[in-house]
């Protein structure tokens, strides 16, 4: 029995299937993707399509819970599904003295002081911002900065540094030492597209006691999105939490804000935020062709992914699951996200110069 709107539904379905958000690029044309271009190399695309078809065939008839060893958790608005995994990983401990020394050693953080003035001031014995507390002209700003450092309010401090320096300034990484390793929440989300569509996976990771614990909230259906958002929110908003992402300033965080607003959930999400993309670009821009996470993994961490799904193609993998109920296409999506989180944490550690006694 045909319903009057089925035809319209099919029309929109067909049109949405046709309208991709990426283009295919032939590598033979000497093509190098920019970090945020919307191209997927043709060979990656072909491989991913084969992978998806193989997975659909290989996992036919298998239930979601059989494939993913996770557990159901209850949250304020329903239940959701969490996958947990762990691997070895270390971050340097909290070192507020070192962080404070680095921050206060940078006189340029005081408004009105540039390179030249800083040199002149240092020549006259003003070595740190603390010294400037005696300077007639810069006293007020210096005292305010000292207070901020003393309070250990990294959120305000990062904003302060961000006003005076670039988002890639290593001083921001030094400031991260105000935090204990377990304060850092590494975040990476997978979505059905670029904005105004559901998030399908929120991956969080924390480093504790020599290992990195990854928690992945995988949506069994987009219907669980609100539950997942409310499940992760308390952890993100907890006192002391500092966020670490790769391009999260542009993508992940605004995306989560938009989805929270979609459900009418009020949230602040004003925690300190370290976006590794900026630091990585500054550090490896000259040695790597691109600073996509994948390229950094290969070039810096020496990791080679197998059976990976290109980030841009995650939506169609999830859609395949959504339409068939076959969990196969989700397997590489979960692994992709987990690998992203682990690599993100390792890059963060390398950029901070962890374990080598200081930058």
């Amino acid at each position: 029995m045909a319903h009057p709107f089925d035809q319209a539904g099919r029309l929109w379905r067909a049109r949405i299937d046709r309208a991709g958000e990426y283009d295919l690029a032939n590598e033979s044309e000497g093509f190098l993707p920019a970090p945020w271009s919307s191209f997927v190399p043709r060979s990656d695309y072909d491989r991913a399509r084969r992978l998806r078809d193989d997975l659909v065939a290989g996992y036919r008839g298998r239930a979601f819970e059989d494939v993913f060893c996770g557990r159901e958790v209850a949250c304020p608005s329903g239940t959701c599904f969490v996958l947990e995994s762990r691997s070895a990983m270390d971050l340097d401990g909290r070192d507020p003295a070192r962080a404070a020394a680095a921050v206060l050693g940078d006189l340029k953080l005081v408004r009105g002081i540039g390179e030249v003035t800083e040199r002149r001031l240092k020549g006259r014995g003003y070595r740190t911002v603390a010294d400037l507390a005696r300077h007639p002209l810069y006293r007020r700003e210096a005292v305010r900065l000292l207070d901020t450092v003393a309070q250990g309010n990294t959120c305000d401090l990062l904003e302060w540094i961000g006003r005076r320096h670039r988002r890639s300034d290593p001083l921001l990484l030094e400031a991260s030492r105000f935090h204990a390793p377990e304060d850092f929440v590494f975040l990476d989300i997978e979505t059905l597209g670029l904005f105004s569509r559901p998030i399908i996976l929120i991956g969080l990771a924390r480093v504790r006691g020599g290992s990195i614990a990854v928690r992945q909230y995988l949506l069994r259906s987009v219907v669980e999105e609100e539950a997942v958002l409310t499940a992760v929110l308390p952890g993100l908003e907890a006192e002391g939490t500092a966020l670490v992402t790769f391009n999260g300033r542009t993508f992940d965080l605004p995306y989560i804000r938009e989805r929270l607003a979609y459900y009418g959930i009020l949230a602040d999400l004003g925690m300190p935020h370290f976006d590794v993309l900026h630091f990585a670009r500054r550090r490896w821009r000259d040695s790597l062709a691109t600073c996509r996470l994948g390229a950094l993994e290969t070039g810096v961490l020496g990791v080679d992914r197998e059976n990976d799904v290109p980030g841009r193609m995650v939506p169609e993998f999830y859609d395949a699951y959504q339409r068939t109920g076959n969990p196969g296409p989700l397997v590489p999506v979960v692994e992709h996200n987990r690998q992203d989180l682990v690599s993100l944490a390792r890059l963060f550690a390398i950029l901070r110069g962890d374990g080598d006694g200081g930058a």
């Binding site: 709107f5 958000e21 987009v222």
Partner: protein, 750 residues
């Protein structure tokens, strides 16, 4: 200036070149101003502005202000240059002055118009001292300026396309939406037919978002004169609106001249007569606006008028700064004549002029807008309509009374079109979860069915707070605002994209071997890739052109309504129209040189149609008279379609027809008239109700035509897929006469 007008009228009467073609001269008497009073005075700043400009408020402006003060929605339909803009700007500013957080959104059909109007708004802001940070927010707004506008501006000028994209970002706009008090839709009459259905749904989405933030804005529609302002406003906004249409502004005497190049011996083209009129006017010192029905004609007439300085063209597609230069030159008098498409029908302030209208623009709404563009507050002016040799223009030339007493058209807005409705539902679900209870008021009684249909194709899922969008593409990108069809072909000239066309147009005009016209150049189609939806063309220098040959079939899917009027069985329902482009002819100056076969897949259109069966008696009479039944039905169908735009606001291209002496669904001689849009757009449905009047007009058209065996003025269709064969004019008159007579039991024909 008045003497120049009189001189010109004298010249028209005396010059043998014009005299023969002047069919009628209609004087329109001057009108005095009627001023009104407000129940309480405007704030000082606004009063100072009015005093500074020497403005005294007319009755209709006062009416609009009082209704808006009272919290009502208003549709203002007074003529061009009657002060509609001020009628809504004053009350909007009054409210924004009283409530320092209040915001207003002004929607214009084009970016050019917003650019023009922002100057007016800013001037009011400056001289009234009421700070609103008026700003344009559209596709041209630099990304760096957008956040500040969203966060600060209280009056934002934009367009429907921009709004369509912005709604999904409502969280960034929360300050603006939370305080939204007015939504002004300028040039609202533009949103009829398909455009109207889209606008209606867009405004519902906007109201829904505003409601989410606790705001319930008032709607102000500024429109050309319409037959059904209250109904139109209610359809467009979903809320009751008070019509304000009693014009209190003054007007000088005006003379309306009808000019028919086909009259008498004929032989002169509309373009050449238009050009001569324009030149004569400009030379006799009148500042003149000349409206044409297409961009191509505008360019052509301007080129032919090139010998006289001070004449320019103006149309959509020009760069904004060029357009503004033309507007300014026209205002300061350095430009004396402008040839334009309906782009200048819009409320861009260009001062007062005389007008030449080249060809009936399709609706009385446009005639009034264009004629209204010419005109002065005091002193004489005139407008000339030059008729084309097509059925409607010629009908008016023969039925002057019908022309001058003509009411403006009904503006059709169908809010039930399943494609448009469901498309906007998808967009809405991507903006906020859709709650079937709460959101029924925006999406109608069919909402649960639509939700279920979308669930079946995995585009919507039911979550705890409502139905959420689950598609992997961005809804607002997929659901375009312009047309339902986004099944487009790209026309490539080498690596350059020349233009895009929808599939139907591609099959008809872009098939291999076709000659394609683009910006005055001719191109030959060398290849057509159906999978990649690409057409390849090469430049060619030819004076031949091609004409596609197609066959069309209509299959009845479901009859929805049926009635018997005076023995004629009239039906309305769902149909599938199948068109096959089977070949094309190559023509050289109208003569067919060769014929070629094509092998293209059929095109299907699921739409709504009205159809009726010719009574046996009428068919027998045609046969008894020795006439051709098929030719008569075909001619009657063409005539019905030719007059339909006049009864149900639409373009001739919006509707299609089919006639056959024996249709499988009815087993009898049948005429179909269908909507040219997937899903239907309410035109056939409207025609179902207006059929007696439409048939009456069509009958008069063919009966009173002076031709012998049919002509472009009566039963020849410019878009016939069968090259106007067969046609039998006498049989068509018999059939239409019989139908008109029988149907007239429903009400007198026009």
């Amino acid at each position: 200036m008045a003497t120049a007008v009189r001189d010109f009228l004298g010249l028209l009467a005396a010059d043998p070149g014009f005299r023969e073609q002047v069919v009628h001269i209609e004087p329109v008497p001057p009108r005095r101003a009627r001023y009104g009073d407000l129940s309480r005075p405007l704030p000082d700043g606004l009063r100072a502005y009015c005093d500074g400009k020497g403005v005294r408020l007319y009755t209709h402006q006062c009416a609009a202000i009082e209704h808006l003060r009272a919290g009502e929605n208003v549709i203002i339909t007074t003529p061009t240059a009657s002060g509609k803009t001020l009628a809504f700007l004053l009350p909007v500013f009054e409210r924004l002055a009283a409530d320092p957080a209040a915001t207003a959104l002004f929607l214009y059909p084009t970016k050019a118009l917003a650019n023009d109007q922002v100057k007016v708004v800013r001037e009011l802001e400056r001289s009234s001292g009421i700070g609103v940070d008026a700003a344009i927010y559209d596709g041209d707004t630099p990304a760096g300026r957008r956040p500040a506008i969203r966060e600060r501006s209280r009056v934002i000028l934009s367009n429907p396309h921009e709004l369509h994209r912005v709604l999904a970002w409502h969280v960034k706009w929360s300050r603006f939406f939370r305080n939204l008090r007015f939504v002004v839709v300028d040039e609202a009459h533009r949103y009829r037919g398909v455009a109207g259905s889209h606008m209606a749904m867009l405004l519902r989405r906007l109201a829904r978002i505003a409601g989410h933030y606790g705001a319930r804005p008032q709607f102000v529609l500024s429109s050309a004169t319409l037959a059904n302002p209250a109904e139109f406003a209610a359809r467009l906004t979903g809320e009751e609106a008070i019509p304000v249409g009693e014009d209190g502004s003054p007007a000088g005497a005006k003379t309306f001249v009808l000019c028919n190049p086909s009259a008498g011996g004929g032989g002169r083209s509309v373009h050449s007569v238009t050009k001569d009129l324009l030149l004569t006017l400009v030379e006799s010192g009148c500042r003149t606006l000349c409206f044409t029905v297409s961009r191509k004609l505008a360019e052509l007439i301007a080129i032919r008028s090139g010998s006289v300085p001070g004449i320019s063209t103006y149309r959509a597609g020009y760069l904004p700064k060029d357009r503004r230069a033309i507007e300014d030159a026209l205002k300061d008098g350095s430009l004396r004549g402008v040839v334009t498409t309906n782009a200048l029908e819009l409320g861009i302030d260009i001062g007062s002029l005389d007008g030449v209208i080249s060809g009936y623009p399709g609706t009385m709404i446009s005639v009034r807008q264009q004629a209204g563009r010419s005109g002065r507050r005091s002193g004489e002016s005139f407008a000339v309509l030059v008729a084309f040799e097509n059925p409607l223009d010629q009908y008016f030339m023969r039925h002057l009374q019908a022309f001058f007493s003509r009411p403006c058209e009904h503006a059709v807005v169908d809010t039930g079109n399943p494609y448009i409705l469901s498309g906007h539902l998808l967009c809405a679900a991507a903006e906020l979860p859709v709650d079937p209870e709460r959101d029924g008021r925006w999406f109608g009684a069919d909402l649960p069915e639509m939700l279920a249909a979308f669930e079946r194709v995995h585009l919507l899922r039911k979550a705890s707070r409502g139905w959420i969008y689950a598609g992997q593409g961005r809804a607002a990108d997929t659901v375009g605002l312009d047309a339902v069809s986004s099944d487009t072909f790209r026309v490539m000239h080498g690596a350059r994209l020349l233009e895009t066309m929808d599939r139907g147009q591609a099959y008809r005009e872009g098939h291999p071997g076709a000659v394609l016209l683009h910006r005055g150049e001719t191109y030959a189609v060398t290849g057509m890739d159906l999978d990649r939806q690409t057409i390849r063309v090469e430049e060619t220098d030819t004076d031949t052109y091609t004409q596609p040959l197609s066959t069309t079939d209509v299959a009845v899917v479901r009859e929805l309504r049926c009635r018997d009027i005076g023995g004629v069985q009239v039906s309305f329902g769902d149909v599938t129209v199948t068109e096959e482009v089977v070949g094309y002819t190559v023509r050289h100056y109208g003569r067919a040189v060769s014929y070629h076969r094509l092998d293209l897949p059929p095109l299907h259109l699921e739409t709504k149609a009205l159809w009726f069966i010719l009574p046996d008696r009428a068919a027998e009479a045609v046969a008894a008279g020795g006439r051709d039944l098929a030719g008569g039905l075909h001619g009657a169908e063409h005539a019905l379609i030719a007059v339909m735009p006049h009864h149900a606001v639409c373009d001739r291209r919006d509707i299609g027809g089919l006639s056959t002496p024996l249709h499988p669904a009815t087993g009898a001689p049948t005429i179909f008239v269908y909507d040219g849009y997937e899903g239907g757009i309410g035109l056939a449905e409207k025609a179902f109700d207006l059929l007696p009047a439409i048939t009456g007009t069509a009958h008069e058209l063919v009966r009173d035509c002076g031709c012998a065996a049919g002509c472009p003025a009566c039963i020849y269709s410019p878009k016939c897929g069968n090259q106007n064969q067969p046609l039998d004019r006498v049989a068509a008159v018999m059939i239409l006469g019989d139908l008109a007579g029988r149907l007239s039991v429903m009400g007198a024909p026009l």
